[in-house]
Symmetry: C2
Subunit: 768 residues, 2 copies
């Protein structure tokens, strides 16, 4: 393997110091001159026609600077795809969930803004509402939207916003050839991202120049630029998304929200910057993970060979589609990429209900799917008397395989992940004891960069000053996972200068070149590759300058430790500083780079053809968990969790480990504790105390296993890191509970009540 | 000539709207959170030893956050060349002029800061001082500096900071061959730049990251970065000069000042941003134009051929060298480049006196030199009975000539300038009447980009968004003359997209690539060429993308009116937007460009060899003025002024005209009205009222003649615009006064008193 200076080494985060010292500026830290406080008025009804909105009293209140409703907007519908534009921000026709934004005010302070909200009179006519996707799909259920898109119009009368169906092979034939076929149904709950930072936005509209600057936690500044430009009817150049420190995202910061539009419009009207700061309850309202119902049919031969999979995936999307096509389309990728399956049928429904909108959250439907899939696999394995690890190894995807949809798997360390995750938990000794202590395994694949319709690659510039310090300018964004560090580390390795001598400018739509954003696991693979290309371009120029001076071929030179050295004769050469200065006298070193994964851009997720290369690379992971269940209370304690992932190559093992531990704890929360409780569309527990995420004391001993098959296209072989383990930990825990108790929980979270009920039922069955 | 869409057309300033509406943010508009007020304590003595500085009482004052003296600095000497580092900002040994900075405070507001200054006790021992350069050079004069550089050490005992001598040909032999030899001495006064914006600086030191951001009016952010990094002992990347709107510069904003260092250090100590805002009096103290004594010897043949020039140029530099090597070296370029002269001797002295520091101001010694030179030329012309226009035409530099110093003149429209300036003023009818109305001519050459030791070219990036709007990222800086407009106009022309669709990011050392700065007339020639190169690079990529799609050679395509068109078949093609979007799916368009004029980098101004190419291009100008002199009072009224310049090609004629009118008014002020009056080193009139710059009502009818020989290296043929006319207007007015009255004024300004005295003397001579 190549000898790297920095790559593959533990490197601290470049923004760590600022975050620790309080120097990092988050959105709420921005105190612009003349800043006004913006607030949103929300619907108290789950479904109601808006008859009238009277803002006159609010407008007259001293200290109020502007009040807006949907009538003040450009009446452009929001949606992330052209065929999913189903939402007016600040609607004027009707409201579709409790908490939907109907008006906004800007005032000199928070107290005045809140008083102004109280003075706005909205006259509603309440309508029948529906809160359950299965009920919503029944004939006669209240209809939430009239029409979204002709493509799906036949479904809209049943409140189905997105429908998808794909079949590869012959599923019925596959079941016939199976020795064991099981069908079961699984349900997952509403959960929230729980970003430590509540959502907020600061907008400064320059009314004369007709442009707006925006600061907010977001995962894709260039996407937000496009969405806001569309909503505000501005050219793209006139919407500037600025960089700001971000306190967590997890998918929940990828979209554009009514607060965003409201802040921009309020700033435009008042000619002053406006901050809208959502409280925790409002932040909960922004987006949740889709609660889903998954009906799985699985057929296997006696030797464990999977013959057919039949899935019906029904997601409660809430009042608007949002990322529905992805949330219901992406789980298919989990199914086709995890275990070799000749026959697959996959049917999906994104259903409208009168609940707040669901959207992207880590795994984006994949976690729900893997929970159902890997639970089923354990069930059939038990039926045919096969060890769960063995059935996984038998069917596990390998490198060089082509998926049913014709997408190709290149690097793949899946089997090694399964084996090591098993070994580290002591699988062979511990599995199958049924003594209220058990081990379970879950698996998942993931993507690195993904095609969903129009999509750009990532691009980067690098410039230098005469002291050979570099500035890396890239559209990449860091939401806390370490992307900036990754980028600087890559540039540092390629350029042979210390990380401390590289400044990074990123995530600003005006100052930096385009980047797809921080989703679909593309930051390392796509943005990292773009940074690498820019650094290599700069290195090429440095070597050429030095080669000219040293009268030697550039190929005989290398950049190491701040010097351009003659390969094999490291004493000979010149400092990089000399080369850079030389450049300034002739042609300065200016790097540029771009990367776009080799995707089949004709392939779509809902429209377009359904086959073709969809991702730059696949990753694979296996998680094992050991649990102890209290037979008296049903309480589960996770003792240990091992997250093993094929990350291609770990650029920064310490960062991979940190990400893995975050993944495991996030999945553990969703497996065991977290759930939003509802009363007819009203959230009952939108706060940390009542929502009950896992505490530090709930955390198991965690181990990280890094598997490194080196991907040929990844930067230094790297792919995404540990998105699989946040998915796979869920079935791992559920399978461990089954191993401990013989109880199969088919509805998340696996609360003590459900487990105790299962234990008692089982006891009654065995007793009876 | 090529048909351009925008180039050569009148284009309004891109930042005009912001400036008119109050949207432009100048340094004093910056209201950062927690901003402290900084103030400077200044010496009341022209020359004194500092025995002690006691800041203890000031530090104890409520509201004072920090007090610093030179002991708190890194004790690094300032100077713009390595051999001119003669100044400690905040000195601790002695003060050398009235107003020199000895301490600084930061406090919560201006009142507290001023009170704190009063509480600082400085104990001085006054020393004998000297205020006149000729006195300062006499043995026994008070010695102001001990040693600056071994190179010039033999001169330092006579208070000479910079000495230069160069001789080409044989001057004595030249005089022998002349039919008429005259020697005269000329003196110029102290004048100030009179920027409408007083100087100020805001510094925000991030103590944790050990980096500092700086906002201040400046002409060369990358120079200021280097100077501050040196003074603060920081890496270059840790000093960030930000862009801010600038209210005039004229050379007076090219350096780094004690206020800059003080603001940075005060911010570092207080961990809060600090603003130091100089008042008008303090702004006067920053820099003045060098007052000079020029002894000229000029020998001509009877036919007007110039045979020899002998010059002794003595500049009062004030207490520190500053730009002394340029101020005393550059005038030589004026002499050698204006009239063909086989034999030149040029000796120069920059002399220390106990006055505030002199530095760059428009023309940088050239205006003073041209005043003397062109006054002398009229004198010898009269002696040999030749018309001033004819003697200029006879000796005027032509294109294709090589100067004595071996620098080459390429494009040259000098003769055309002389002829047209003469014609437009009605020279042949009006000259030589001696009836208190007269016409005069002055001439000057100028440079476009210049080598003064280590110097970078300019560089630029261009990026796009999918709507084919572009962002131009360049280090270029605009001090009000329209450089941003020039850059956007060039990019727009090359890319075929409207100027309104191009955003410019400039003059920020962190965000933009390197640029030499706004001096030596390099913005259009150097920075403009870099922008052009970047735009051409982007255009090449756009054409390649379109050529691929259209299956045609890129050479058969052109960019016009937002489309890539097939040459000769403009209906065929595609929109630029389509091409840009195509690029995002394969390789996005990312332009980069660089320009460095073809200079002999071994050639220096003081050190190094004295011959070689010094500038990318020479410009030439001629100014004619018509004046009326009141014989009773000596008052001069300028009736008309014609500024004719070879600008290569006028990219934006409206901007050239605006610059020319500014140039003429600036020169007129210096010829007739402006002067700083002194009382032993104390400025007596540092304010607009007492300094008496020309008023709008003093302005003559002004005409601009644009001569366009098209320079082969300039962007679209362009060179610098109208720096010659600000120089040439001075001798034009003085020669016109002579033509009107027969009075030769050899000391500027030509006040009514001097003219009246001349008229009376002449009358006495004629009468007697």
């Amino acid at each position: 393997m190549t000898e790297y200076t920095l790559i593959g080494k533990n490197v601290p985060q470049v923004d760590g110091r600022a975050k620790i010292t309080g120097g990092a500026r988050f959105t709420d830290d921005l105190k612009l001159e003349g800043l006004l406080c913006g607030k949103l008025l929300r619907s108290p009804h789950a479904h109601a026609r808006i008859l009238d909105i009277d803002t006159s009293r609010a407008k007259k209140l001293k200290g109020v600077r502007a009040v807006i409703t949907g009538h003040d907007t450009a009446r452009v519908k929001y949606g992330i795809f052209t065929f999913t534009k189903d939402q007016y921000f600040l609607p004027t026709d009707k409201v579709r969930y409790i908490g939907e934004e109907v008006a906004a005010v800007a005032a000199v302070d928070e107290e005045v803004a809140e008083e102004a909200l109280d003075l706005i009179r909205v006259e509603y006519e309440t309508l029948p509402a529906v809160f359950d996707p299965e009920e919503a799909m029944r004939p006669g259920a209240p209809r939430i939207h009239d029409q979204v898109d002709p493509l799906v119009d036949e479904f809209i009368k049943y409140n189905v916003g997105v429908y998808g169906k794909r079949e590869y092979g012959d599923v019925e034939e596959g079941f016939k050839q199976s020795d064991c076929v099981r069908r079961e149904s699984f349900r997952t709950q509403s959960v929230n991202h729980l970003t430590l930072e509540p959502y907020g936005i600061v907008a400064r509209y320059d009314t004369y120049a007709n442009k707006v600057e925006v600061w907010c936690p977001n995962q894709a500044p260039f996407q937000k630029m496009r969405a806001l430009a569309n909503l505000l009817e501005l050219p793209l150049n006139q919407v500037i998304i600025r960089k700001v420190a971000i306190g967590g995202a997890f998918g929940g910061r990828s979209e554009t929200f009514p607060a965003d539009l409201a802040a921009c419009l309020l700033s435009k009207l008042t000619m002053r910057p406006v901050k809208i700061r959502l409280n925790r309850e409002e932040t909960f309202l922004l987006r949740q993970k889709h609660p889903v119902i998954i009906d799985v049919g699985l057929g296997v031969k006696r030797d464990g060979t999977i013959m057919a999979i039949d899935i019906k995936f029904t997601a409660d999307g809430g009042a608007y589609i949002s990322t529905g096509p992805i949330a219901t389309g992406f789980p298919f990728t989990i199914v086709e990429a995890i275990y070799r399956t000749p026959n697959i049928r996959y049917e999906s429904f994104e259903v409208y209900t009168n609940r707040p909108v669901c959207g992207a959250m880590r795994g984006h439907g994949g976690q729900q799917m893997a929970y159902a899939m890997d639970s089923m696999l354990d069930t059939v394995a038990e039926e045919i008397g096969m060890d769960p690890v063995d059935i996984r190894l038998k069917n596990a995807m390998k490198g060089g395989e082509r998926l049913p949809s014709d997408s190709y798997v290149r690097s793949c360390g899946f089997a090694e992940c399964i084996e090591k995750a098993g070994d580290r938990i002591g699988w062979r000794e511990k599995h199958g004891k049924r003594n209220f202590r058990g081990v379970g395994m879950g698996c998942a694949p993931m993507i690195s960069g993904f095609n969903m319709g129009f999509r750009t690659g990532s691009s980067a510039f690098i410039k230098f000053n005469e002291d050979a310090e570099a500035t890396l300018i890239t559209g990449l964004i860091d939401c806390g996972q370490g992307n900036e560090t990754m980028a600087v580390q890559i540039a540092s390795e390629i350029l042979g200068i210390p990380m401390g001598n590289i400044r990074i400018i990123c995530a600003d739509t005006e100052l930096t070149p385009s980047d797809p954003g921080n989703y679909a696991m593309s930051s390392t693979f796509v943005s990292g590759n773009a940074v690498k290309a820019a650094a290599e371009d700069a290195r090429r120029q440095i070597l050429e300058i030095a080669a000219n001076r040293l009268e030697i071929s550039p190929g005989d030179l290398e950049l190491k430790e701040g010097r351009v050295r003659v390969k094999g004769d490291p004493e000979k050469g010149m400092s990089i500083k000399e080369a850079i200065r030389d450049g300034f006298r002739s042609r300065p070193v200016m790097g540029r780079g771009y990367y776009m994964p080799n995707l089949d851009l004709q392939t779509g997720w809902v429209t377009g053809k359904l086959t073709g290369q969809r991702t730059g690379a696949y990753t694979f992971g296996a998680v094992t968990a050991e649990v102890e269940v209290d037979p008296e209370t049903g309480t589960v304690r996770v003792l240990k969790a091992v997250g093993a992932q094929d990350v291609g190559f770990a650029l920064n093992p310490m960062a991979v480990e940190g990400q893995n531990e975050g993944s495991l704890s996030l999945g553990q929360g969703q497996a065991l504790y977290e759930k939003i409780y509802w009363d007819r569309g009203l959230m009952l527990n939108p706060n940390f105390l009542d929502y009950q995420p896992p505490l530090a004391t709930d955390m198991p001993v965690m181990e990280t296993v890094i598997v490194e098959p080196i991907d040929q296209d990844g930067p230094f072989g790297a792919k995404e890191a540990t998105e699989t383990t946040n998915i796979a930990i869920v079935p791992a825990i559920l399978n461990a509970i089954y191993d401990a108790t013989g109880v199969r929980i088919r509805e998340l979270p696996a609360t003590p009540e459900k487990i105790l009920e299962g234990i008692q039922q089982k006891k009654r069955r065995e007793d009876g």
